[in-house]
């Protein structure tokens, strides 16, 4: 039986088409994926991301305990700041990709993927230091308000001065009278906020935001638009572009690995990888012949299998068929031609600079 977020009835009332995602019944679209995508790029869209998991580390030593689980460094950011990070296994592969929030050195809050909630928590329990994690996944709902109008809309409902919350920073405050973690983060390539709130206030917050944002064009947006928006940014999706057998170095996420922070799980494996040189890299490509690349399609070079497409779509903003996939390092340079095996028909694609989408 699929789980439902507190907003399930609200989605149905808005005419959403629901799909199973990581064991959750989630809205994939309300009207049209393309329309919702464009709304986020040009006005603002609101996503229910309450299926995401949360884990907390609290008490003296919380920072050290959490920090040695992740690739990024909670020691070098300030209280009220967050980092994107890898939670790695001993082989350097991703257990998950996470956002870690530093409330204080005694309070670390980590947002994890819905698909990995149980796996991550077990992993963290097994590999944490003195301070053990607490699963808070059922204690939080989460709404993401994203787009150029997002800040103006949320500002109308909160006493917080949002201009003081920079990207990847957060604050505690009320939004529409609901106590929230207000985080300037997202997964769309647009400015915006992710609002963590108590599940029993999620409907009130959702409705208040829809009403306050109506004149700015705020519309609900589903997982379909979330996927096309993140693909245009080449943001990795766990289970597609990254997984237990791919490392942050291979995924082009070297910037989330802080070598000067001391030991963390997976570090030794990454050092070996770095020393030996990377055999494959995650690249972005644009189709040069008709067709749309999809997850799992083979990538070919001169008719020979060289890798697989991990994500692909027709990008509504870039208006091109775009894809992401792993190729041998020697084929990873921009301008390299590869072929995508589209159900038996090879179609040319070119490795390009990413993100695919840049604000005009």
């Amino acid at each position: 039986m699929a789980r439902r977020t507190p907003l399930y009835d609200a989605h149905r009332a808005l005419g959403a088409r629901m799909v199973d995602f990581a064991g959750w019944e989630m809205p994939v679209q309300y009207t049209s994926v393309i329309a919702e995508h464009e709304t986020v790029r040009h006005a603002a869209g609101m996503f229910d991301v309450s299926h995401m998991g949360e884990v907390e580390f609290r008490g003296a030593g919380a920072l050290a305990s959490a920090n040695q689980l992740i690739t990024n460094d909670l020691g070098r950011i300030a209280d009220g700041q967050a980092v994107y990070a890898g939670l790695l296994n001993e082989s350097g592969g991703f257990v998950d990709d996470v956002v870690a929030y530093r409330f204080s050195p005694e309070h670390i809050f980590i947002c994890v993927n819905a698909s990995n909630r149980a796996k991550d928590f077990a992993w963290m329990q097994g590999h944490a230091g003195a301070v053990k994690p607490v699963d808070r996944g059922d204690d939080w709902a989460q709404l993401a308000v994203q787009g150029p109008r997002a800040s103006a809309i949320v500002q109308r409902l909160t006493p917080l001065a949002l201009e003081t919350i920079k990207t990847y920073h957060f604050a505690l405050g009320t939004v529409a009278g609901v106590a929230c973690i207000v985080s300037r983060t997202g997964y769309t390539g647009e400015d915006g906020f992710e609002l963590y709130c108590p599940p029993d206030r999620a409907v009130a917050l959702w409705n208040a935001l829809l009403e306050a944002g109506a004149k700015d064009g705020l519309r609900p947006a589903g997982l379909g638009a979330r996927d096309s928006l993140r693909t245009e940014m080449k943001y990795a999706l766990y289970g597609n572009d990254i997984d237990d057998s791919h490392s942050p170095l291979e995924a082009g996420l070297g910037w989330i690995v802080k070598w000067d922070k001391g030991d963390f799980v997976g570090r030794a494996a990454l050092e070996r990888q770095k020393q030996a040189g990377l055999g494959r890299k995650l690249v972005g490509f644009e189709m040069r012949e008709p067709g749309i690349p999809r997850h799992g399609y083979p990538l070919l070079s001169g008719g020979r299998w060289v890798g697989e497409v991990t994500s692909g779509t027709m990008g509504p903003s870039v208006k091109k068929a775009i894809g992401i996939g792993y190729v041998p390092t020697e084929l990873a340079r921009e301008g390299t031609t590869v072929e995508v095996d589209i159900r038996g028909r090879p179609a040319k694609a070119e490795v390009v600079k990413t993100p695919f989408w840049r604000k005009p």
Binding site: V28, S32, V33, G224, S228, G291, I292, M314, A321
Partner: protein, 129 residues
């Protein structure tokens, strides 16, 4: 739900066929485009290609999914809707008109009789809920 035109015949895979003399124009139904979502790419058959009733003759892709197109009748493709190469969204906007996919010269006109009429097709869609 859009009305399914009375002058068309329908397949259970949600294609339609409109006869005009020796040829039929083929497309996908309002229900099919609704279920697919935004159509972003159509892999059209080539003019001159032979198609067989019930066999795949192309694909239509939405933002999220790839869906096969099944020929409602057997015959030879005599015309394809090239406009769909640049404007695949016509399938969403006008599935029974500007969103037509191809025109097929019938090799076995009797195959049309095996297809559903609008009433039967509307019932099929309603039953699938």
């Amino acid at each position: 739900m859009a009305d399914n035109p009375k002058d068309l015949r329908y397949t259970k895979e949600h294609e339609w066929a409109r006869r005009s003399g020796a040829t039929v124009v083929v497309g996908i139904t309002a229900h099919a485009q609704e279920a697919l979502g935004d159509v972003v790419y159509v892999d059209l058959p080539k003019v001159g290609a032979a198609v067989t009733a019930g066999a795949s003759f192309g694909t239509v892709e939405s933002t999220k999914a790839v869906s096969e197109l099944y020929a409602p009748v057997s015959g030879k493709v005599v015309k394809v809707n090239q406009t769909l190469a640049d404007q695949p969204q016509l399938i969403n906007q006008d599935p029974y008109g500007k969103g037509w996919i191809c025109e097929v010269e019938l090799s076995q006109p009797s195959e049309l009789d095996a297809l559903m009429d609008a009433g039967a097709y509307t019932q099929l869609v309603a039953a699938a809920g």
